[in-house]
Amino acid sequence: MKGYAKGILFAWAVPLAAAEPPDPARAWDALWRVYLVDAGVIFVVFAALGAWFMLRYRRRAPDEQGSAPELSRLAAVGWALVPAFAFMADDFYLAAKTWQAWNVYREVPVERLEVKLEAALWRWEFTYPNGVKSTNELRVPAGKPVLLRMTSLDVVHSYFLPDFRVKEDSMPGRVTYLWFYPRQPGEHLAVCAEFCGMMHSKMMGKVIVLPPEEFAAWYEGEARRLAAAPPKPEA
């Protein structure tokens, strides 16, 4: 919590793209802190003013009237333009910060593992470059960016990895992509985020991040098994 508070205080000073190598999850977390500071300031200003006005200007006599004077023409224009430009400046600042992080999300590192993902009611089908297939469970090596090229066999789904802060819809007739950076071995939840009918809430899978050598052993073992017993071509 203390580190978190410090993060909020000094978020303005942290350049977003400085995380080396680029990682969408880290870019997201940094951008979220920028947002929290921004929205926090606006909230405090408006809420404090509102609370003060409610207290200060409560009615003291039954026939009392408000006493605010009409704005002069200059004041009226000023009260329109100054806030408008202040909000615009804030919008462009947030847009610029978002764009930096957006580039991290959309520019996929060249050194990567590329996996094809086909979503279907209600499962995820993965196909690795060497033809190995798996359902719902995606095994990846730690320390290597993973690119998913996605489509759907039936309705619209959305592959969502909360731990990696990424999601993108998979749709029939279209190919989309996302990438994430699994740094440490471990297991992460994958869920469907686009309503897809009865078992939508049960459409889930796992990303299993393995140490590189363990992954290589699994990957090659599966490939050998595939070569020994190739799947029969469909009739």
């Binding site: 979220w32 200007y57 978002t98 039936d154 909360p162 749709m171 889930m204």
Partner: protein, 528 residues
């Protein structure tokens, strides 16, 4: 005066049509609210609770969303409030086309009946209020009910739009200039301009959906050259502006309540009207892609509409400043309508600020379709809009019924409701940050949000208590309320210069207004 059902059904009086809209939309609100109780009971603990069939839950959720938006908020604001207030506020005897007005309320009731049929047909629609294909064209659920509900209510809305724009343009009291309109009248005009431009697009989208499902066309079927994203674009091209169809009138009536109970002018009226309301109308059609940030549309489109979406903060910021400024040096009386109007300022502030990360495309890649989204839009639209409608009901209660409500009951209902919505919708956004996706029947894969889910379900009970007290306060006032005077709030606006309740034809003589008359001319000599 004896009660005659026939006179109510065939009425062309704008006030009675307004009350018909109110009754119908409150019925939709009650039914849709009941669905939220079922859902919150289902979600209070992991695993199946109330039903073991996820389809039941999906139907509740479909009905909750579709009925709250199409059956409650839009008709309550642009049906009930617009009908009741606009002719009175502009000093007219009725709307321009009273019979068209009757037709639009009948269409609305037909739409409500069709929506309620969800509960009796064997294959109810289960496609959420968004109805995305190909799911909606493949499901065994009855998508046609969705299509025809939308078409009926949309048609009703188009008729209303023509009617009210004509009324405001041609039927203002002699001497009433455009800068002397109530904020609510301006906001209704803006909302109907948006409706007239965008409703046809929604009509096209849901019609294509029904064609695809029942007539074998392929608009959205990629296997035959269609594209699933066409629907999403068409749908949100209407449905984001639809948010402003709700937003503008609820802010408009909030302005009127704030000015009346602070006995103060609206701060920087022209900036709020032309910059605020006008700005929202101008930007409303250029922001829909923020609903498609995760749908794989081109990067330039996503980033471009991110900027236009963020820029909505400019007109909305002007409106916020104007609302707060209306309190400055006012004389604030904390009657029940004012409590709701002040609460709108609070919930709308939270809702607006939590909209920013959803506009920031990159943050949305994590937040989209999680609980953060329903948390945000309940604050910014559902709760703010409903509070404004409830505030308006209390505000107009003496005018509509000729009786006063009980202030104690009004306060009590407000306190429970206000506490309850914060207990539900703040935790909802936190659950979204954990990654909990929306539209989930169950959440066993997210053990970390179990506490929040239970908390939200408890909060719903607090809201329910508030709602019951509120409903009771309305019934109580009807039966035991004191007789209301013509102008119990000391308002300067024209609707308070006629008897409570107003007779048919409203004004004994149409008022003639001078150039220094203003609905918000408090505390200065020129005001009448």
């Amino acid at each position: 005066m004896a009660f005659s059902l026939k006179e109510w059904i065939f009425t062309t009086d704008h006030k009675r049509i307004g009350v018909l809209y109110l009754v119908g939309s409150l019925a939709a609100f009650a039914a849709a609210g009941l669905m939220s109780l079922l859902m919150r009971y289902e979600l209070h603990a992991p695993g199946p609770d109330l039903t073991a069939n996820p389809n039941d839950y999906n139907v509740w959720l479909y009905f909750h969303g579709a009925a709250m938006i199409l059956g409650f908020q839009i008709p309550a604001l642009t049906g009930f409030l617009a009908n009741y207030c606009v002719p009175l506020m502009i000093g007219a005897r009725d709307v321009a086309f009273p019979r068209l007005n009757a037709l639009s309320v009948w269409l609305f009731y037909a739409g409500i009946v069709l929506a309620l049929a969800t509960f009796v047909v064997p294959d109810p629609p289960d496609i959420m209020w968004t109805g995305y294909p190909p799911y909606s064209t493949r499901t065994a659920g009855n998508t046609a009910f969705y299509t025809f509900t939308v078409l009926l209510i949309g048609f009703s809305s188009i008729l209303g739009g023509i009617n009210f724009l004509t009324t405001v343009v041609y039927m203002r009291a002699p001497g009433m200039g455009w800068n002397q309109l109530n904020m609510f009248v301006w906001s209704v005009c803006a909302a109907f301009v948006i409706q007239l431009v965008f409703v046809p697009v929604l009509g096209v989208a849901v019609t294509m959906l029904a064609f695809d499902k029942y007539l074998g066309t392929h608009f959205f079927n990629p296997a035959n050259g269609g594209d699933v994203l066409i629907y999403q674009n068409l749908f949100w091209f209407y449905s984001h502006p639809a948010v402003y169809v709700i937003l503008l009138p609820f802010l408009g009536i909030t302005f009127d309540i704030l000015a009346t109970f602070a006995r103060n002018r609206v701060f920087n009226y022209k900036a709020a009207v032309y910059g605020g309301i006008g700005g929202v109308v101008l930007l409303s059609g250029e922001v829909w892609v923020h609903h498609l940030y995760t749908a794989g549309v081109p990067d330039w489109l996503r980033l471009g509409q991110m900027v236009s979406t963020l820029l909505i903060s400019v007109p909305v910021g002007l409106l916020m400043i104007s609302m707060l400024g209306t309190l400055y040096r006012g004389s604030i009386s904390f009657r029940t309508p004012m409590l709701y109007a002040l609460a709108v300022n609070f919930t709308f502030l939270i809702g607006g600020l939590t909209g920013i990360p959803l506009a920031m495309a990159t943050l949305d890649l994590h937040l989209s379709d999680t609980y953060f989204v329903p948390g945000h839009f309940h604050y910014v639209m559902a709760v703010s809009g409903t509070f404004a409608i409830f505030g308006a009901i209390y505000y107009l209660y003496p005018k509509m019924t000729g009786r006063m409500y009980s202030e104690t009951l009004g306060w009590a209902g407000f306190i429970f409701t206000f506490a309850g919505i914060n207990l539900v919708f703040l935790p909802m956004m936190i659950a979204g940050l954990y990654g909990m996706p929306r539209r989930y029947f169950d959440f066993e894969q997210f053990p970390e949000v179990a506490g929040l889910q239970a908390f939200m379900s408890a909060g719903t009970v607090v809201i329910l208590i508030g709602m019951l007290i509120t409903l009771w306060s309305w019934i109580h006032g009807l039966v035991w309320g004191e007789k209301a005077p013509m102008n119990p709030w000391g308002s300067r606006s024209l609707e308070w210069t006629v008897p409570s309740p107003p007779p048919p034809g409203n004004f004994a003589a149409i008022p003639t207004l001078t150039a220094d008359w203003h609905p918000y001319a408090y505390g200065r000599p020129g005001g009448t």
